[in-house]
């Protein structure tokens, strides 16, 4: 292995600015969604299997615990979607400055918190 390859830095030694934190949450929600997809696909399979399956899914979704899990996955999706949209906008050259990056991170948090709360209201 070539010694000149980039090294892994010790992340515990850094102080994280807001854009770094929103970026890490973007990654974390990505992992959560990757696992959450299994739950969503299981629900999809059950709901499409038969009328009884569909009704049992409906019944399950009325329970607090299952609804909470769905809200969690939906929250991850909404955050990932908002942060990803910000990413695509930055790829287009929008908000690439230091101030733009911080503002973008703030907008990402505000918009996703609003969407997550709306999703909660919609589910309950």
């Amino acid at each position: 292995m070539n010694d000149k390859r980039p090294v892994n830095l010790d992340l515990s030694q850094f102080s994280f600015p807001l854009p770094a934190l929103t970026s890490i949450v973007h990654r974390a929600t990505g992992i959560i969604l990757f696992v959450g997809i299994a739950i969503l696909m299981y629900i999809l399979e059950l709901s499409l299997s038969s009328e009884e399956g569909f009704n049992s899914v409906k019944e399950c979704l009325d329970g607090f615990f299952v609804k909470f899990i769905i809200w969690g996955i939906l929250s991850g999706l909404l955050y990932h979607l908002v942060a990803g949209t910000k990413h695509l906008l930055m790829d287009l050259g929008i908000g690439e400055t230091l101030e733009g990056g911080i503002l973008g991170a703030k907008i990402t948090i505000v918009v996703s918190v609003v969407l997550i709360l709306l999703a909660g209201v919609w589910l309950w």
Binding site: N2, R5, N8, L11, R27, G30, I31, F34, I37, A38, M41, L44, E45, S47, L48, S50, E51, F54, N55, L77, L81, G84, T85, H87, L88, D91, W122
Partner: protein, 115 residues
């Protein structure tokens, strides 16, 4: 330039592009599904199964599923190469991610077409 054999497109530029193209299709599909749920608050089984028996919905779902496979692979690959330094650990993580993605794709096809 360092080319990695484990990256999706074998080259960072391809990965970058694929990550973004699949992101757009996943975003479109997510909004499409959420819109369908919001517009149909009291959904019945007939409505739901008819929706998923439309060829258009099935094609869109398969597109999203394949996009998910590529998108998640690139994302998880990036995460594993950033945070998992021991080679064995990184390899196991990538192998498990790849296997799970393959299962998702096959499982999804089975759900959509009921094979």
């Amino acid at each position: 330039m360092v080319a990695s054999v484990t990256s999706f497109g074998r080259n960072g530029l391809y990965d970058w592009m694929i990550q973004r193209v699949t992101a757009v299709s996943l975003a479109a599909y997510s909004i499409f599904l959420l819109g369908f749920f919001i517009l149909n608050p009291d959904m019945t089984y007939t409505q739901w199964s008819e929706f998923f028996s439309c060829t258009g919905v099935r094609i869109f779902s398969l597109l999203a599923l394949l996009s998910l496979g590529a998108h998640a692979w690139i994302g998880l690959w990036t995460i594993s190469t950033d945070y998992l330094k021991p080679m064995v650990l990184r390899f196991i993580f990538q192998a498990v991610s790849g296997l799970v993605m393959f299962i998702y794709v096959v499982w999804g096809v089975q759900i959509l077409w009921g094979l």
